[in-house]
């Protein structure tokens, strides 16, 4: 009886909270499709705004995808071997290294961007290229890749696996590729998911670092909010959602698939 009461209350509270979070999203979508938001639904619906956004900002969408992909590649190349190296090394040094790498998450993105501009602002071509933004994103997302891989490494007996492969004659690089990598795959997938979503949504750091030629999607969104009518900015949100949601679902499916494979 009592238990039923609490579980009903739980469902109600959860529903209300979900509604609280979902309503703004739905309203944005509605605003982006309405002919005139102020006049309400009676004015009718249109895809014109979405079309206009695509015409004005399509390049930011592609740039965001490219930045996210490059960021992912770099964090994979540095983060996965780095995580293994840190776990192998262990002790105080490894912990200190992990803390230092995590710092950019705690430091405000603006401060991080400022530091990068101060250091490399003079290098013209690099400063003006998309790569400059990628560097910022790597600094910000790397700890998430490291943490995800380290977490999985700590649950598997990597030392024995490594020794087992060594006893069979495999050199160090081969043991890493054949035995360590496949067994930390869940961590790599989880880390990749976090890195890609963080990179696509990142505004703070990117806003400070971008040039007119290196605008990403969230920076363009801020632009639209600041300088266009509400319906265009909202249509931009729709573009963002249409892009990000399938991506997230896709990565999640890949994660589930690899999980099932290792479990069976």
């Amino acid at each position: 009886m009592r238990r039923q009461w609490t579980s009903t209350a739980g469902i109600v509270i959860t529903a209300l909270l979900s509604l609280f979070l979902v309503v703004p999203v739905l309203l944005s979508v509605y605003a982006g499709l309405a002919v005139n938001y102020a006049r309400g639904p009676s004015a009718g619906f249109t895809l014109d705004w979405v079309g206009q956004v695509w015409g004005l900002y399509a390049d930011t969408v592609w740039r965001s995808l490219v930045v996210a992909l490059l960021t992912l590649v770099v964090t994979l190349l540095i983060g996965v071997p780095g995580a293994y190296a840190l776990v192998r090394k262990g002790g105080r040094f490894a912990r200190a290294a992990e803390e230092i790498v995590t710092l950019p998450v705690a430091v405000p993105g603006l401060a991080l961007a400022l530091a990068l501009i101060l250091s490399y602002g003079g290098a013209g071509a690099f400063r003006q290229s998309t790569l400059f933004v990628v560097v910022g994103h790597v600094l910000f997302t790397l700890p998430f890749m490291l943490r995800a891989v380290i977490a999985v490494l700590e649950t598997i007996d990597w030392r024995t696996l490594d020794e087992g492969a060594a006893s069979l004659g495999a050199p160090a690089w081969r043991r890493f590729i054949d035995v360590i990598l496949p067994n930390v795959r869940p961590g790599i997938v989880a880390g990749a998911l976090t890195v890609v979503t963080l990179s696509i949504g990142e505004f703070n750091l990117t806003w400070m670092m971008h040039t007119p030629m290196t605008k990403t999607l969230p920076v363009g969104l801020a632009d639209a909010y600041a300088s266009m009518r509400l319906e265009i900015a909202s249509a931009y949100t729709i573009v963002f959602l249409v892009m990000v949601i399938p991506l997230l679902i896709g990565v999640q499916l890949v994660a589930d698939f690899t999980q099932n494979r290792t479990a069976s």
């Binding site: 020794e163 069979l168 067994n183 290792t262």
Partner: protein, 358 residues
């Protein structure tokens, strides 16, 4: 290819020799300088309690630990001290199996051959042969998580043997299994190792396993080899108190030898035992099975405290005095009840006497 073909012909593996082999971690000596000779094809068991250095000695031979000095380990006379494990060509079976969860049973067994760039067809044939040898053909395509503990252990053994190692090293390979399976696999592994005729070092803390598998046993204590010998020697002629207690059950009777007869301290009746030798204070040791019933004359009398039925025999706990409790194995058809006074004697050939410290 060629190297592999030549490996097939060497069936008995390499001899192992250690010379003053020692190891310390952060100033703590785990293994004191140890000399060891293992002839090619012999199975040596390292037996001892945890922390005695047996696993360290095995890992040193494997190349998983670096010895304290140069030229301390030789295979067939060749110094391998500086050779890393991946180049030492040793087969290793770990207590936790160390099987690769991302590979099937067959892929695990074939991995060492793959690393050695053995052609696919030959690799698969060799894998099948080894799986058949350990009775796992049907499980070849199963994932490691889908086979039982005993099957994992066999997979690990097949994987280690697949590379035709110079020596096979086994670190408590049965410790993670339940008692029934352990007993069965113990026999199987012993037979398999002899069939392969490979030089093997086998670490265990289980004396029954050591007796069943070892050509020779090295009993280790506190980083040193306390005694090395064939199982019968270790059991019947233990070198010291530690070995005597670690391997099997050992009874002790303290007393004084006068005119070749032992007078037992504190005996209710002054029991006498013919042992010979000069007059001395001593402790005599004997195994439970060395006792037999005797007529009261010239025997030791003891009060039966408890009996345990073992099938063919029964084990008696018998008190000679308040300080001297003995365990005696007698035929189980003998009717004995607790409280009864029993007269028994000891097979003189089975009596062991250690040097008593003054």
């Amino acid at each position: 290819m060629n190297t592999h073909a030549s490996m097939v012909t060497t069936r008995s593996g390499a001899s192992i020799a250690t010379r003053r082999l020692s190891k310390s971690f952060n100033g703590t000596t785990v293994l004191h300088p140890t000399d060891l000779e293992i002839p090619a094809g012999q199975i040596l068991v390292l037996l001892g309690p945890s922390g005695c250095g047996k696993t360290t000695l095995l890992r040193l031979i494997a190349g998983l630990e670096q010895p304290d000095g140069p030229d301390m380990i030789r295979f067939d006379g060749e110094d391998v001290s500086g050779v890393p494990i991946e180049k030492r060509n040793v087969g290793m079976v770990f207590q936790s199996y160390a099987l690769f969860p991302n590979m099937t049973v067959a892929e695990n067994v074939g991995y060492g051959l793959k690393v050695r760039k053995v052609e696919r067809a030959q690799r698969e044939a060799e894998t099948r042969r080894l799986l058949a040898l350990v009775g796992l053909e049907e499980y070849a395509d199963r994932r490691i998580s889908a086979v039982s503990g005993g099957q994992r252990q066999r997979t690990a053994l097949a994987r280690a043997l697949a590379i035709k190692p110079r020596v096979l090293l086994l670190d408590e390979p049965l410790a993670a299994l339940d008692a029934v399976l352990r007993e069965r696999l113990r026999v199987e592994i012993g037979l398999l190792l002899r069939e392969f005729g490979i030089t093997a070092v086998y670490v265990t803390h289980d004396q029954a396993e050591a007796m069943a598998i070892g050509d020779r046993i090295a009993v280790m204590e506190k980083g040193r080899i306390a005694q090395i010998g064939v199982p019968k020697e270790i059991y019947h002629r233990p070198a010291n108190d530690f070995v005597a207690d670690f391997v099997g059950t050992m009874n002790r009777i303290a007393g004084r030898v006068e005119n070749g007869l032992l007078n037992i301290h504190g005996g209710e009746t002054m029991a006498r035992l013919n042992v010979g030798g000069p007059d001395r204070a001593t402790t005599l040791c004997f195994r439970p099975e060395a006792a037999r019933l005797a007529s009261a004359n010239g025997a030791i009398s003891a009060r039966v405290a408890a009996t345990t039925f073992f099938g063919a025999t029964q084990r008696l706990v018998a008190e000679v005095s308040s300080e001297c409790r003995l365990q005696l194995d007698l035929p189980s058809n003998l009717s004995v009840t607790p409280g009864q006074i029993l007269a028994f004697e000891i097979d003189p050939a089975a009596i062991i006497e250690f040097q008593t410290e003054a």
